[in-house]
Amino acid sequence: MTVKLSSRTEGDTTVVVLEGEINSTTSGGLQAQLLPFVGEGSRLLIDLSGVSYVSSAGLRTLLIVHRRAQQLRTGVILVGLSEEVRFVMSATGFLDFFEIEDDLDAARERTGR
């Protein structure tokens, strides 16, 4: 199982779309790919609607990216969480750290304020 990454820029927001599973075998490479998108002044939006499972290591990767963004005084928004991913993140407390939106449109509305 792998995770595929594609990205595009929308104004001052970088949208990263992930597909696959984020687990211990994929998360190391994913972290290296994601961190360069974290930059000063640009917000990172990660679309997880194509992600079926995020393991413990995967959640840690997302939180590390979020922490790095915080250090640079910007943010990470997660969108498109499946019911199971959202449940796991909620039960384990990871959900508390992120900004979450249902989908891209809701996130655009928020960032477009």
Partner: protein
């Protein structure tokens, strides 16, 4: 100057290959499995093994993927350590295979046919989903996993609430929300309990004490319910498999191996709500049982170190469960200490209640020690320095140490005498007025020279009748436990109020409610630390079963329908707890002595009977009043009102003459358990002045709580 980049370690490179894996000699500390750059470090102790192997499984696989023997150069002292590179830690399960002599007379019970679980495993798989039928032929049923302990606690720490200010709530992680009526998204889990934090806040408790949460096997109970034929579980979990691992089956995310994060999140959120977390820990025995029990870990690694053995090499059984942990052996002391430090530093646990703690002061040959090194060490350990330590100060072999537990000024005790005295007095037994008075004053007879918080006061606990059943049953009814009602205690001091079990009689039911309120009233106004059994505030019943250890069903689960059905009792409890929080005089550290220590003109505690200042200590008396002088609160450091508690355990009403108050003050009614709701219960701080200033007519089987403070003018 700051350094940004992460520097590589010079030992992050393998030195050789074993079994196809790149490895190097590991670091003996810390014990267990820990991620290191490039791999995982494994370390295990065995003094008597002749060979040790690391056994690796891919997650869930029936057979190992590899076995790596530790070469002699990978051993320092009696510790085997190896770093294995390129492992996918998340999909890895590991164990050990120890070879050595099998000679029970010398204490050795090595069995190279077994894969052994790591005693220091911080994550264990195999019982990930509660009650799910496992593969009983699994070569490795309780599998050690690698855990990354990098939880983001923010600024959270253990709360450090003064012990005397605690109101403890004893509950069971699964039982609290497993009932279909709980309405939480993940019933029966850490996450479910987290959703009920608002209920706990409303109740007013500031500490939850959780029945065992260290990994155990709920399926290790061989019994069935004789009526239904259903499998009985080990629901309570007093049979630890793995001491460093949180119970996976209590986590909604246990099937993903995320129980550690889920439990830590629960602790963090409880702390945010001002609620401490005390764990009930079972260090007196393990799940390995006696000679006939399973070899899981300790027995196969170093039987003679971990267990108390007779000179013939048989297991001592001071715990009543087959084996006894050799707690004062230096290696085991270190194990227990490391374990508790771990739970405090990595899980921010606020305190521990030690099951059958008297075993912790026995020497390896079973002799009770006057200065048990383990207890002394725990009392003075830097990490545990402010951790609450609570002893169940007896064991199953007759060592009873309530009031005499070696405490080093640090340990509190479950006060079993408090429980029995309150029950017997409220039941109406004669000759108990003096005894009750001593218990309500913090049991200075037991804990003189120690603080009043040495006494954890309780009327009910998980073990025994619930409060509702204490007033509804004369006898235990444990048939469903599969032992012909032989199990469970017979010294319940219970009274059914006239009818055994549920009653249609309004008189019986009213009396029961009053008796429950009476006991809660005594509990929450006594000196010491009150502990409430979860559900007692809403009249939870176990239908007379006083030993619910195996009842993983609606008999034991918290029925949330009771919150509405018994709203009156709940409100009474909530306000009583609020009353205790509002009145520091009830939570003074030192025992009251009965004299005026601050020049208020009143003793810190005074005793009364039908006549003020004239307590009746005689054998036929069933009435007592006690007054606490608010000027003595917290040793005179803070101001408080006077509080008067009048208790009538007699079946007739009595007119109580009230002690006089300073000029300008009057008695105000907070609670009277004989009055039907909504009368007889005031909001804390909004109590009304009594019509008759000097006397109070108290009904049969009733308790009154009065506040003495300035008369409101106008």
């Amino acid at each position: 100057m700051t350094v940004q980049e992460t520097r590589e370690r010079v030992d992050a490179f393998p030195t050789r290959r074993i079994g196809g894996y790149r490895v190097r000699a590991g670091r003996p500390f810390p014990y267990g499995a820990h991620p290191v750059p490039g791999g995982v470090n494994f370390s295990v102790y065995s003094d008597r093994a002749t060979a040790m192997r690391l056994v690796l499984f891919e997650k869930g696989a029936p057979r190992p993927v590899a076995e790596l023997e530790f070469p002699p150069e990978f051993r320092i002292g009696s510790v085997y350590a190896m770093t294995v590179f390129d492992l996918d830690a998340e999909n890895l399960e590991y164990g050990f295979r120890a070879d050595g002599p099998f000679d029970p007379r010398t204490g050795d019970r090595f069995d190279a046919g077994k894969v052994l679980s790591d005693p220091y495993a911080r994550l264990v798989s195999g019982r990930d989903v509660w009650g799910r039928e496992p593969d009983w032929d699994d070569v490795y049923p309780y599998r050690a996993n690698v855990l990354e302990d990098d939880f983001d606690w923010g600024d959270d720490t253990p709360l450090g609430i003064p012990t005397e200010d605690l109101v403890i709530y004893e509950t069971h992680v699964r039982g609290f929300t497993r009932h279909p009526s709980s309405g939480v998204s993940a019933p029966g889990t850490y996450a479910g309990l987290r959703e009920k934090i608002p209920y706990l806040k409303d109740l007013g408790v500031n500490c939850v004490e959780l029945l065992p949460v260290f990994e155990f096997d709920e399926l290790d109970n061989p019994r069935t319910d004789p009526a239904t034929g259903e499998r009985l579980h080990n629901y309570w979990g007093y049979n630890t498999v793995s001491f460093f691992a949180p119970k996976a089956g209590y986590a909604a995310t246990g099937r993903f191996g995320m129980q550690a994060d889920e439990f830590k999140t629960l602790v963090r959120e409880l702390h945010r709500a001002g609620i401490e977390v005390v764990l009930d820990v079972v260090f007196n025995h393990t799940a390995e049982g006696n000679e006939d029990g399973p070899t899981i870990s300790f027995r196969g690694l170093d039987n003679a170190t971990y267990y108390m053995l007779t000179p013939q090499g048989e297991y001592y059984n001071f715990s009543g469960t087959g084996n006894t942990v050799n707690c004062n052996h230096p290696v085991v002391r270190d194990f227990v200490l490391s374990c508790l430090r771990y739970w405090v530093s990595e899980y921010h646990i606020d305190g521990f209640r030690f099951d059958l703690a008297a075993i912790l002061d026995r020497a390896p040959d079973g002799t009770p020690l006057p200065n048990p090194p383990l207890l002394e060490q725990l009392a003075h350990d830097p990490i545990l320095r402010h951790t609450k330590l609570i002893a169940e100060a007896w064991d199953a072999a007759g060592l009873y140490q309530v009031g005499a537990f070696p405490n080093y000024g640090r340990w509190s005790e479950w006060n079993g005498k408090y429980r029995d005295s309150v029950r017997r007095f409220i039941k109406g037994e004669p000759g108990l007025v003096g005894e009750l008075a001593t218990r309500m004053a913090g049991s200075p007879d037991l804990y003189g020279g120690r603080t009043a918080s040495a006494s954890v006061n309780f009327v009910t606990a998980h073990d025994g009748f619930t409060l509702n059943d204490l007033v509804s049953y004369n006898d235990k009814h444990n048939e469903a436990n599969g032992e012909d009602n032989r199990d469970g205690g017979n010294d319940n001091h219970s009274w059914n109020c006239g009818e055994e079990g549920p009653s249609a009689s309004a008189h019986v039911r009213d009396l029961r409610t009053r008796q429950m309120k009476n006991m809660l009233g005594i509990l929450l106004t006594s000196q010491g630390v009150p502990m409430i059994l979860a559900g007692d505030e809403v009249g939870r019943t176990q239908l007379g079963n006083n030993n619910g250890y195996c009842q993983d069903n609606e008999l034991s689960w918290f029925d949330w329908g009771l919150v509405e059905a018994n709203a009156e009792l709940l409100e009474f409890t909530q306000r009583l707890i609020a009353f205790r929080h509002a009145h520091p005089v009830l939570r003074t550290v030192d025992h009251p002595v009965g004299s005026d220590r601050v020049g208020s003109g009143f003793p810190d505690i005074s005793w009364h009977g039908v006549g003020a200042w004239r307590p009746d200590w005689s054998a036929h008396s069933r009435v007592v009043g006690l007054m606490r002088c608010g000027r003595h609160a917290k040793g005179g450091a803070v101001a408080d009102d006077h509080v008067y508690i009048g208790i009538n355990a007699h079946w007739e009403s009595h007119d109580l003459e009230l002690p006089g108050l300073p000029e300008g003050q009057a008695w105000h009614l907070f609670a009277d358990t004989s009055l039907a709701a909504p009368h007889g219960l005031a909001e804390v701080g909004a109590e009304s002045e009594l019509h008759h200033p000097g006397r109070y007519h108290l009904g049969p089987h009733a308790l009154v709580i009065l506040v003495g403070r300035d008369r409101r003018t106008g």
